[in-house]
């Protein structure tokens, strides 16, 4: 074929030039992406690794101080508390989100009428357009100890004794933050679970039905194992999100009361922008990167260990 084409061509183009153009074009298209990745992702990451060993203040100071930043961090009880809090906050939130989003997805999945199902899917998903900061500000008022929705509701149903200053004491503050967004149906997790459930082969569901499986048995023996990929994916996202959470602290608690709502990402923000200690903030970032990598590795191992759908 190639020889025919060249015979018929009236313009003689040297073969080498032709090949050069066609081979390099894909790389030209990749160039902008590569540039963005290098400039905004890789260079700052390596820069952070370097600066974590300095006393950089964002302007003039930039002297090498070895591992001092790291030793200061590990000697700071606020930093240690932040990681303990992160473990608690992330576990609580991950379990809660997975549970409620899964329940909501199963409820939607069990609706037979196509139109009704679509209506509820849209109803659940529309609140996603509300920006997160707005959600946190709303919950500030929900948790208000005097006029907040929760305390007022408890009062109305006769459980006035259970009223608390939810954000105002160490024992409840972190849990209160983890609870923000309840019932977690307007979430990515919900969307993924609904899509995964709807993606289950219909005849498997029907087989389960034929075999006399009650809905609970089916959910436990069929839905959950087959959704494993989706569940792990959402769990990883939630864990990484917990690692990067700063909004509740910036908007609500500033890490208090005490250190009960300190989280690593907020610690980083404050160290950099309030204290001006960019070098130490880089050290925090390096630690967070390490933790994130460990979590990801564990999740990957969990996901692919004796997975039935991947070789």
């Amino acid at each position: 074929m190639t020889s025919v084409a060249i015979e018929q061509a009236s313009v003689s183009v040297p073969r080498s030039r032709l090949r050069l153009t066609s081979r390099w074009v894909p790389f030209l298209f990749l160039l902008p992406v590569a540039a963005e990745l290098i400039i905004f992702r890789y260079i700052p990451t390596f820069s952070a690794f370097y600066h974590s060993l300095t006393n950089w203040d964002g302007r003039k100071k930039d002297a090498f101080i070895g591992f001092k930043n790291f030793t200061d961090l590990f000697n700071d009880n606020v930093f240690r508390d932040a990681f303990v809090n992160m473990a608690k906050y992330t576990s609580l939130r991950t379990i809660a989100v997975l549970l409620f989003a899964f329940i909501a997805a199963e409820l939607i999945f069990s609706i037979r009428n196509e139109r009704v199902r679509m209506f509820w899917k849209i109803a659940f998903v529309i609140p996603l357009v509300v920006p997160r900061s707005v959600i946190y500000l709303m919950w500030a008022f929900i948790y208000d100890p005097q006029v907040g929705l929760i305390n007022e509701a408890l009062n109305l149903i006769g459980l006035g004794a259970w009223q608390q200053p939810w954000l105002g004491q160490s024992s409840t503050a972190l849990g209160a933050l983890a609870f923000i967004g309840f019932p977690f149906v307007s979430s990515l997790a919900f969307l993924i679970f609904v899509a995964s459930l709807e993606g289950l082969p219909r005849d498997i569901i029907e087989t389960a039905q034929l075999e006399g499986c009650s809905i609970w048995k089916r959910i436990w023996n069929v839905d959950l194992p087959m959704l494993r990929g989706g569940i792990v994916f959402v769990a990883v996202l939630l864990i990484l999100e917990g690692l990067q959470t700063t909004e509740p602290q910036l908007i609500l608690t500033r890490g208090g009361p005490g250190t009960s709502t300190e989280l690593p990402a907020y610690y980083l923000y404050r160290t950099a922008f309030d204290y001006g200690k960019f070098g130490q903030a880089c050290a925090v970032g390096v630690v967070m990167l390490g933790v994130g990598l460990i979590f990801t590795a564990i999740s990957m191992w969990l996901r692919y260990r004796s997975a039935y759908d991947v070789d």
Partner: protein, 381 residues
């Protein structure tokens, strides 16, 4: 007793009627094949029998008990899906025992039945494998195994061989036939493949556009098709239809004239059933009934367009004068006919089929086939 009785079944999807007045009786031990082209409603009918879909009118009875509102799990049916529907995260033995485990049967019973099914289906070496590590045929056997341990009254198969390659299909066909014999179970089998229907079925239910066209034994639908659709659907290559006119009728024959076919008047041995002289009709000719340069009384000559040499036989395609469509004829494998040459074929007038303008067939008399008689006798027994 595992009989299945369908009476006046109607089903609608919204305002579209997908099943129209289905009436079928399936006996205990029957291998009933629901045959039809895509979209004829055969899978829908099977799902309605299974209880996976609802029907709006009519009665379904299994084993003598009416099952109209009974949930699928309680109808005593075992269903095999086209894609086998194996649980991908469970091993073979867990797949097979799934239903029993969900129903809380005793461990001993589960073990016994699984072992039994594995033995029958030759799955013993694979009991701990995951479906992804099985071949297509093995997966299908696992699906069958899952149905077997249910000990259902009726097995329902939804195009089970469609996903297999040709060679495996032949092998599995034989296996299924053997399974039917050994289990002596009632099986209802849906397919679009007439070879499967003809070879496996004891009873064929031909469906088209949501309606049952004919119920009969395989050779019955072949030799005595109820209408033009069944006649054209069964048999490969297809029967061909030529226009003609009725010249006269007797009690046991209808004389017709068909342009392009000699002699000018052909006496077709069939029941006239309302036909009279002057009516437009169609005759049906099966390619394999045409003999090249034969000696029978009915003769057709045509101009050769192309001949396909298949190896075991050849097929001749050509034009006949006065008929628009091409004729297809079966040729012995050693014969050679040149393109463009004239070819004459003869056939016995008893091999002709007759249809009126509404497609209704006339009952053929003088069909001489001992196998057909045997099947008919067996069916009645």
């Amino acid at each position: 007793m595992a009989t299945v009785s369908l009476q006046n079944i109607d089903k609608f999807y919204g305002r579209v009627q997908v099943l129209q007045d289905i009436n079928v009786e399936i006996d205990d031990g029957d291998f009933a094949v629901i045959l039809g082209p895509s979209g004829c409603g055969k899978s829908t009918l099977l799902r309605v029998i299974a209880g996976l879909e609802e029907h709006q009118r009519g009665d379904i009875s299994i084993g003598g008990a009416v099952m109209n509102t009974t949930p699928a799990a309680e109808r005593g049916v075992g269903m095999l899906f086209q894609s086998y529907a194996l649980f991908p995260h469970l091993s073979v033995s867990k797949n097979i025992s799934f239903g029993m485990r969900m129903r809380g049967e005793s461990k001993a019973l589960i073990k016994e039945r699984v072992a039994n099914a594995a033995r029958i289906l030759k799955l013993e070496p694979y009991l701990d494998r995951l479906p992804k590590n099985l071949s297509g045929g093995q997966r299908q056997r696992v699906a069958i195994g899952r149905s077997i341990v249910r000990e259902p009254k009726v097995f329902l198969f939804d195009e089970p061989l469609s996903n297999l390659d040709a060679e495996l299909r032949v092998e599995m066909r034989l296996e299924l036939a053997k399974l039917h014999d050994s289990l002596a179970a009632t099986m209802i089998y849906v397919t679009h493949d007439q070879i499967e229907a003809m070879t496996l079925g004891t009873k064929i239910i031909v469906m088209h556009l949501g309606q049952v066209q004919q119920v009969g034994t395989p050779l019955q639908v072949y030799y005595q098709p109820a209408n033009r659709f069944v006649a054209g659907f069964i048999g490969s290559p297809r029967m061909q239809f030529l226009h003609g006119t009725v010249q006269g009728v007797t009690a046991e024959s209808v004389s017709v004239s068909v342009p392009g076919v000699a002699p000018g008047i052909i006496e077709v041995p069939c029941e006239p059933d309302g036909l009279k002289a002057g009516d437009e009709i169609e005759i049906g000719i099966r390619p394999e009934d045409l003999h090249y340069r034969g000696s029978e009384e009915v003769r057709i000559t045509g101009l050769t367009t192309v001949v396909e040499y298949m190896g075991h036989a050849s097929y001749w395609y050509g034009h006949i004068a006065q008929q628009e469509r091409e004729l297809v004829a079966h040729l012995h494998r050693a014969l050679r006919v040149d393109r463009g040459s004239e070819a004459t074929f003869t056939l016995n007038r008893a091999d002709l089929y007759l249809f009126d303008t509404e497609g209704r067939a006339r009952r053929r008399l003088q069909v001489d086939n001992e196998n057909l008689q045997t099947q008919l006798a067996a069916a009645i027994a």
